[in-house]
């Protein structure tokens, strides 16, 4: 099936800018400030990926999953949210957080393995973030169900808050995806679900995930309006996400958006992609790079001055380096933090085991309690 070539998926989708940055349908009315912020976010994410990859290569970070080449999807969709909304990301939506001012130093510290309590202690958040972000979900599709529950709460309370969540092409095979969209449909929940279809779920190509022609149409089974957009065109993603968010906020219920993109890089730094896909596939997609396309458009429109792309990259590299430096200052997490935040109250076992760990780390024998009254 031509349609299902990972190299050349169907281009029957909504697109504003073609790969050369030429306008092919009426551009949405977007303020210049927002256009610049969209661009900045994508570049920032790309450079953040580059930096953390180099840290991974040096052994400072154990593993990363890059958003490289897919930046337009979560940039354009998250930008459609408003203050007070909720976002439930998976692990390839770095730009979503960056758009809303997520702290890069905290992100790097987390990648370096710091416990959340340690990060909060040494790099504390100041004030409430404009959009609420959950921790990044690693198990797939379970975030969609939580996001729909979040949206159900707003519907029942009558609050005009929108909950957005992300999955990949592979995750649409999970039960949680269907259960979540079914609940969203039944309860008319203000939930917008974005499918970041990057053609590959580790080594398994999109055509092995489903026999449907598109991922978008899966939502039809749940009575959820759906749309397919060019995921490398940030204006297309932004416009359709904005419509979906607006509909949800007005009480119009959930939406599902398939954004067609491509994983330009390995699944994560433990992956070896040469085993399962050809390098020439990447060449086809490099020409569709979401940042190049948008940059061309913004330069053509005079939104960006000719010197700005280079200047911005230099500014962002410095910012990222400063964030990395701050993250490196965070001390290694105290092992005892592992006992924190399981239940609100202390328990006998927690205190007992904490004391055992403390003794062990002092070089003392932790197994000397034969009465339950504490270490001897």
């Amino acid at each position: 099936m031509e349609q299902w070539s990972e190299q050349r998926p169907s281009e029957e989708f909504y697109r504003v800018l073609d790969p050369d940055g030429e306008v092919v349908s009426e551009p949405p009315d977007v303020e210049e400030e927002t256009l610049r912020r969209l661009y900045r976010t994508m570049v920032e994410s790309r450079l953040f990926d580059e930096k953390t990859l180099s840290m991974q290569r040096r052994g400072e970070v154990s593993i990363i999953a890059r958003s490289t080449g897919e930046e337009a999807v979560s940039t354009g969709s998250a930008a459609a949210l408003a203050e007070g909304d909720w976002c439930f990301p998976s692990y390839r939506q770095t730009p979503a957080g960056l758009y809303w001012g997520a702290r890069k130093d905290r992100g790097v510290a987390a990648l370096m393995g710091a416990e959340p309590e340690t990060i909060e202690e040494h790099l504390p958040l100041e004030g409430e973030p404009p959009v609420n972000f959950t921790p990044i979900y690693v198990p797939l599709a379970v975030n969609v169900t939580n996001a729909v529950g979040s949206a159900m709460t707003d519907r029942f309370r009558g609050d005009d808050v929108v909950s957005m969540s992300y999955i990949g092409d592979g995750s649409t095979s999970q039960g949680d995806f269907h259960e979540a969209l079914n609940f969203a449909g039944v309860f008319e929940a203000p939930a917008v679900t974005i499918c970041q279809n990057n053609q590959w779920a580790i080594s398994v190509p999109a055509h092995r995930q489903t026999a449907t022609e598109t991922f978008a149409e899966k939502a039809a089974a749940h009575g959820v309006p759906h749309e397919r957009v060019d995921g490398n065109d940030v204006l297309a993603v932004y416009e359709r996400s904005r419509a979906a968010v607006e509909q949800a906020r007005q009480g119009g219920g959930p939406s599902f958006i398939e954004a067609v993109t491509y994983r330009m890089v390995e699944h994560n730094t433990a992956d070896e992609e040469s085993i399962y896909r050809d390098a020439d596939e990447r060449e086809y997609w490099e020409e569709k790079d979401p940042i190049d396309r948008f940059e061309t458009y913004l330069l053509d429109q005079g939104v960006l001055e000719p010197n700005e792309p280079d200047d911005l990259r230099e500014e962002l590299r410095d910012e990222i380096q400063a964030a990395v430096n701050r993250a490196r200052e965070v001390p290694v997490s105290d092992p005892e933090t592992m006992f924190e935040n399981h239940l609100h109250d202390s328990t006998w076992k927690r205190e007992h085991q904490r004391a055992e760990l403390r003794a062990e780390r002092r070089g003392e024998n932790p197994f000397t309690d034969f009465t339950g009254e504490g270490l001897q």
Partner: protein, 336 residues
């Protein structure tokens, strides 16, 4: 600690069985706090297959008593999202044996959200599940698989044994900010009534209670097994102490050890399969911290390591007063 629910003189009480206690508590908590919502399959007009939510949708509306699609994982997964946003959500899983499709949400989000968010996102949820056997329902409706829950950090597990206990423990569970699994032993849903205080009240979620005091042997039990422990205690020629654990997680280790250090003998009575049932943990705790006090090995009077059997053989599987009595007598007769 000893914490019997004994109405004070002159205090208003009502005769309730366990189901009416659940129903009344849900009603009081929903009246008390508008963020409390119920959800689940059949919880609406029919009031649940055991009628525990009967009449509540009429009084609180379908935005607070939410009949859901038939999907346990969908129920638990959306409930987590609702709880993260401040709904004090009380999902019902129709039978504990139907819980397993929800295991993904349980392991990935329900027990981990608070920890993964560094304490920033709470999941104030009470998952009600009718559990255990003894009413000839059927194999998938009768299991006691609390071990899965107790083995997992980040949640509480509570099992009431009387109507008055049910009211105080359920109210405390709903008001607690941790995820709580509230396992309702359906065999004693409608077995007898007792005077339950009309006013709302809570019981602690980390303390066992002494059902009766004794000097010779301790029987640890919970839920429907507490009744069998009492009957057996009356039948044997020994001074039996009975500890109703009430909260299986966190365990009240202090009371467990306090009792056995006094009596020197212990029997654990539970419906769940024996291997890695909670009896194994209690036995291990006593071994680690009270071995010096023992006059006899610990015995576990439990279900067998089999799948829950069908109607005709159910009684042979279930621990009862006879099995409890045998275990007590064997331990009492033992000499080192």
């Amino acid at each position: 600690m000893t914490s019997q629910v004994a109405p004070d003189e002159g205090q208003a009480t009502e005769e309730m069985n366990m189901v009416t206690a659940v129903n009344e508590t849900l009603r009081q908590e929903m009246d008390r706090d508008e963020s409390v919502r119920l959800m689940g399959y059949d919880v609406g007009p029919i009031g649940g297959v055991y009628r525990a939510t009967e009449g509540l949708i009429e009084d609180f509306g379908e935005d607070r008593v939410i009949d859901t699609p038939l999907s346990e994982n969908g129920i638990l997964g959306t409930a987590v999202g609702m709880a993260m946003r401040g709904s004090r959500i009380v999902p019902e899983i129709q039978f504990m044996g139907f819980f397993y499709p929800a295991f993904g949400q349980f392991m990935y989000t329900l027990v981990k959200m608070y920890e993964r968010s560094g304490g920033a996102l709470e999941v104030p949820m009470t998952v009600r599940m009718p559990y255990s056997g003894g009413i000839k329902s059927s194999e998938y409706h009768s299991e006691s698989t609390e071990t899965f829950l107790v083995h997992t950090p980040g949640c509480r597990v509570v099992v009431p044994s009387t109507p008055a206990e049910t009211k105080g423990l359920l109210a405390a569970s709903i008001r607690n900010d941790d995820p709580v699994f509230f396992l309702e032993p359906k065999k004693i849903y409608r077995v007898g009534t007792e005077s339950v205080p009309t006013e709302d009240y809570t019981l602690p979620l980390d303390q066992a209670r002494y059902v009766r005091r004794g000097e010779d042997i301790t029987v640890y039990a919970w839920g429907a097994m507490v009744r069998h422990a009492k009957t057996a205690a009356d039948a044997v020629d020994a001074d039996v102490e009975i500890v109703d654990l009430r909260t299986l997680s966190p365990l009240d280790v202090e009371t467990i050890l306090e009792s056995v250090k006094k009596t020197g003998r212990a029997v654990v009575l539970h419906e769940a399969r024996r291997t890695l049932g909670l009896g194994a943990e209690i036995s291990a705790l006593i071994n680690e911290y009270a071995l010096d006090h023992l006059h006899a090995p610990i015995k576990r009077a439990t279900g067998y390591d089999v799948h829950f059997p069908g109607h005709q053989t159910e009684d042979a599987y279930m621990p009862d007063e006879q099995r409890a009595q045998y275990a007590i007598e064997a331990v009492m007769d033992y000499e080192f």
